[in-house]
């Protein structure tokens, strides 16, 4: 197929694909561009594409007026915290399932998956009440727990599919040479498992960063991450487009970069190994 394409076909396919691609990307491009405009230019008609006074004022004001940094820190703490806690649980669990499988391993994996299918509204009321009674509302600790539990099935699954690919012959060879279990894990397994662990972490950070059901319902200010901060711009008095754009650009930039780096692993994590 590839050999047969004519130069004309190559050019027309490329041109068409780029037009479509740029259209899909346009909202993001427009958001970034608007973040460098003044509020007046942000709402001007016809919209200006290049010939406006580029300014960084919005970024400064987002920080000064609304303490953007606090929300960003919460996002980082929630995403990284839930990922690290999840990793401790998921690595041991996936390791056991991949290398010491029992008859029930498959059932356990599928059951874990089924918990992920549960719509959050099904447990919203009791979780909210428990959080209220235990003083966990609007705390980082409470949200880290929720995000960790929410993504645990995905982490176990993803690690499981990676661990499954590690050749067990090597483990047996290491055992024959007298490696103990801790040594086996640290010197044999871990180096081979690291790429899988790294991509699992990245996917989990993305999912936790963008999570917007629990973060909106269980936080108000102290533990509120960027999802909730951006949501506060939906109120009528908060309709400053340039500032909204600046805050949004800052909120999505890190995750966009991480996402771009891990696009291949993403397919695997989000389809539970069903598409490779």
């Amino acid at each position: 197929m590839e050999k047969k394409q004519t130069p004309l076909g190559y050019i027309s396919f490329s041109a068409f694909a780029w037009v479509v691609g740029l259209l899909i990307f346009f909202p993001i491009f427009w958001m970034v561009l608007t973040s460098f405009k003044s509020e007046l230019e942000a709402v001007s008609i016809p919209p200006s594409f290049i010939s406006f006074d580029w300014t960084l004022e919005n970024y400064v004001e987002v920080q000064e007026r609304s303490n953007y940094f606090k929300f960003a820190m919460n996002s980082v703490i929630l995403a990284v915290g839930s990922t690290l806690v999840g990793l401790v649980f998921a690595v041991t669990c996936a390791w056991a399932m991949a290398f010491n499988p029992t008859k029930r391993t498959k059932d356990a994996l599928l059951w874990m998956l089924s918990t992920k299918m549960m719509p959050p509204v099904g447990v919203l009321v009791p979780i909210y009440l428990m959080f209220r009674d235990w003083g966990l509302l609007d705390t980082r600790f409470g949200l880290i727990m929720v995000l960790f539990l929410m993504n645990l099935p995905i982490m176990v699954w993803m690690l499981y599919t990676y661990f499954k690919e590690i050749p067990t012959d090597i483990l047996e060879a290491a055992r024959m040479d007298g490696a103990t279990l801790p040594k086996e894990i640290i010197f044999v397994l871990l180096p081979m498992a690291l790429p899988g662990i790294a991509s699992t972490m990245l996917l989990n950070v993305i999912l936790a960063w963008n999570e917007a059901f629990w973060t909106l319902n269980l936080t108000t200010s102290d533990a509120a991450p960027l999802t909730a901060f951006i949501a506060s711009y939906s109120s009528p008095e908060g309709l400053f487009w340039a500032k909204l754009s600046a805050a949004s650009t800052l909120a999505v930039a890190p995750i966009l970069v991480i996402g771009w780096f891990s696009q291949k692993q993403l397919v695997r994590g989000l389809t539970f190994g069903a598409v490779k």
Partner: protein, 290 residues
């Protein structure tokens, strides 16, 4: 490998995850089921009493339930059609040798990484605003009246935003599946005189069927619970025009404090999701055996 000792170690190592997940799901779900049979309002504490299936009768005969069920199905169905068809077309396009394919692919999958609240507010304001939005300006260039998206077509607006977010997911998965397609098979078909259309319908589409199923099932599970996009743009309105089941349960629980009614709604949502989940879990389970 599976000596008794290693089996025991395996059990001990996998137990913590299974236990915490079990607690996380079973305890709240049990409580939701229990609450759904109570008259329980947060505004009048201490008056809880067992009322049997009354909450379900109220919830399932409430016109708001039918409106939100219809909205949920319309939202899920439309987004699925748009993203699957769009995903196949874009996947085929990106599978061609084109200039700067790597960078182009990054642009196309970018929307998937945008957090839902940013997605919703950028679309609502910068693009769809009837006065200063990009679409209003484009309409004026064409001499058309501007559309007040969120007043006149609120659900359509939500569908557009959510589709934009999920299209990259479909593209990513379908493209991965396309790249595993055996080129020899296609070439053999070409030698036998098959045109691009018949190659698509007799070779490509059957090869994609499994990936398409996965996309449909996984998207359905996430789309059934779309919340943030509605929360920050329409708040479920105007009227009930953009209220889906997830949002209805939220309003009953945290705005009307009707714990019993919201719990009944939550259980209905769980049952709906389970209908889809059964198929997905079977499919993935089969895959695990291979």
């Amino acid at each position: 490998m599976s000596t008794r000792a290693s089996t025991l170690t395996g059990r001990i190592m996998s137990a913590p995850s299974i236990i915490v997940l079990f607690l996380w799901m079973a305890v709240p779900l049990g409580m939701t089921i229990y609450f759904s049979f109570l008259r329980y309002n947060l505004l009048s504490p201490g008056t809880e009493e067992w009322i049997g299936t009354l909450n379900y009768e109220f919830f399932l005969t409430d016109p708001a339930f039918f409106a939100s069920l219809a909205n949920t199905l319309l939202l899920v169905g439309s987004v699925l059609v748009i993203t699957v068809i769009g995903g196949i077309l874009l996947g085929l396009l990106l599978d061609q040798p084109i200039f700067g394919r790597g960078i182009l692919r990054l642009l196309v999958i970018a929307p998937f990484f945008i957090m839902p609240t940013v997605n919703a507010l950028v679309w609502k304001n910068l693009l769809m605003d009837p006065v200063s939005g990009m679409f209003a300006w484009l309409a004026s260039l064409l001499g058309l009246p501007a559309i007040d998206w969120f007043t006149n077509a609120p659900l359509t607006s939500i569908i557009i935003m959510v589709s934009w977010q999920w299209l990259p997911f479909a593209v990513l998965i379908l493209l991965t599946a396309l790249q595993s397609l055996d080129r020899d098979q296609k070439e053999a078909a070409q030698m036998d005189g098959a045109g691009p259309v018949s190659i698509f319908f007799y070779i490509t589409l059957p090869h994609l069927s499994r990936a398409i199923t996965v996309v449909v099932l996984i998207e359905t599970i996430f789309l059934l619970t779309v919340f943030a996009e509605i929360f920050v743009t329409t708040g479920g309105g105007p009227g009930l025009a953009t209220t889906n089941i997830a949002f209805l349960v939220y309003t009953q629980a945290l705005l009307q404090y009707d714990v019993g009614g919201a719990s009944a709604g939550g259980i209905v949502a769980v049952i709906l999701a389970n209908i889809v989940a059964i198929f997905l879990i079977r499919l993935i389970g089969k895959n695990l055996d291979n």
